[in-house]
Amino acid sequence: MSAGKSSARAFLRSAGSVFLKDWRSELRTRYAVSALLMFVVTTISIILFSLGSEGASPDALSGMLWVVVFFAAMSGLSRTFVMEEERGTTLTLQLLAPPGAVFFGKLLFNIVLVSGVNAVTVLLYAAFINGFVIRTMSIFIVTVGLASLGFAAAATVIAAIIARANTKGTLYPVLSFPIVLPLLLSVINATRMASEGAFFTEAAGEFQLLISYIVVVVVASSMLFEFIWKD
């Protein structure tokens, strides 16, 4: 019975278990990770081939990095909810956990997933795309970190919405793009600054914006999630 279950601890246990379930499931099947990595490798290869010996301006290269990241996010971050719908386990989760726990558990999963994929993307991009130079590494690292959090936050709530609708695939980027656009513009700008060698403090304004975006999106999503999730 539920006697002896203090609510804050139980909530954290709940959310943590939701995360662990997704994590272990992913470790076993490796669907999301392998597909995502292949996606990133393929996209960067395409960019390499189309650039040829021409190269592109550092500004353009900064922008393109985030295009790759955006589409990688679109490939992978909806899986956590769509998979439950496909396997019919949405009802199971609804029975076991309060909506908030499901949301935070899956948000954490997406944060881990997108951080991992972004790290690989950035490394591959930096290694293979000539002309992509980062002069202020501190700005760039903070930018990638905040971008990962931001993408995960926005993508998770939109994933929840499309999973509950009937057509999954094509709708996801369509719904996500307007939401993610402020984030994209901000990180592209910050990356440009890092590329040009700006001082860390110059990017502070951009970071403030990113942090408030993340906070606002997470708070709004957690409030809306209950309505999206429950029938």
């Binding site: 279950k5 009802l91 076991l96 956990a97 429950k230 029938d231």
Partner: protein, 209 residues
């Protein structure tokens, strides 16, 4: 149990696309009693089951759990266990893992020994470490019973309790039902009255459209 638990539904109604599935459904079940829900296919048995389990919001009316006062909605989740054809297990995991996941997500402590006893009871013990994906439909149904009982809920809800079960499975379920009658509330939704022995209350959804 200190005070006996009561499950009360008052004036429940549900619509889809503005068309009513059922309306004005009321019932009251107390600990030790069995509620039978009957109705044609499509009459809303599963819909009512979902409302009782708290995963579907009724269009009108209230569903409440009472035990020396009302039980707040946040605590109702762990009072109910469900077995149903449309409830899926996490099939990439084994039976034991499913039980452990269930308790973890509920925020409760997992007792491995109690889980083993339960799995023995539903005749899954020998295959308990195999992925549920590899089970036959009868085994999957039995695992659902373990999944529903692992947190010893005072209210057990069974939708089509005998589906996919052979004689051995049916016997197991009858045992489970008897035991539940002894310690709490049993709700059975079915059209096959031989599924259930006796019952104390009945909701017939055929009359409630």
């Amino acid at each position: 149990m200190t005070h006996p638990l009561q499950l009360v539904g008052e004036g429940l109604r549900k619509e889809y696309d503005r068309r009513p599935v059922f309306r004005d459904v009321s019932f009251s079940v107390s600990a030790g009693e069995t509620l039978l829900v009957t109705g044609r296919n499509g009459s809303g048995k599963s819909t009512l089951v979902k409302i009782i389990c708290g995963v579907l919001t009724p269009g009108g009316g209230t569903l409440s759990f009472r035990q020396d006062g009302g039980v707040p909605p946040g605590e109702q989740r762990d009072l109910v266990g469900l077995v149903s054809p449309y409830l899926q297990m996490f099939e990439e995991f084994s039976a034991v893992e499913n039980l452990s996941i269930a308790m973890g997500i509920r925020g409760l402590t997992f007792d491995a020994k109690a889980a083993d006893v339960l799995l023995e009871r539903v005749a899954i013990f020998p295959r308990r470490h195999d992925a549920v994906r590899t089970y036959s439909s009868g085994m999957k149904q039995r695992v659902k019973y373990a999944f529903a009982l692992i947190h010893t809920p005072p209210v057990l809800v069974l939708d089509e309790p005998m589906s996919n079960l052979d004689a051995e499975g049916i016997a197991i379920v009858r045992g489970v039902m008897e035991e539940q009658r002894g310690r709490g509330i049993l709700v059975v939704a079915t059209n096959d009255l031989s599924d259930i022995g006796s019952y104390d209350r009945r909701v017939d959804l055929n009359e409630r459209r």
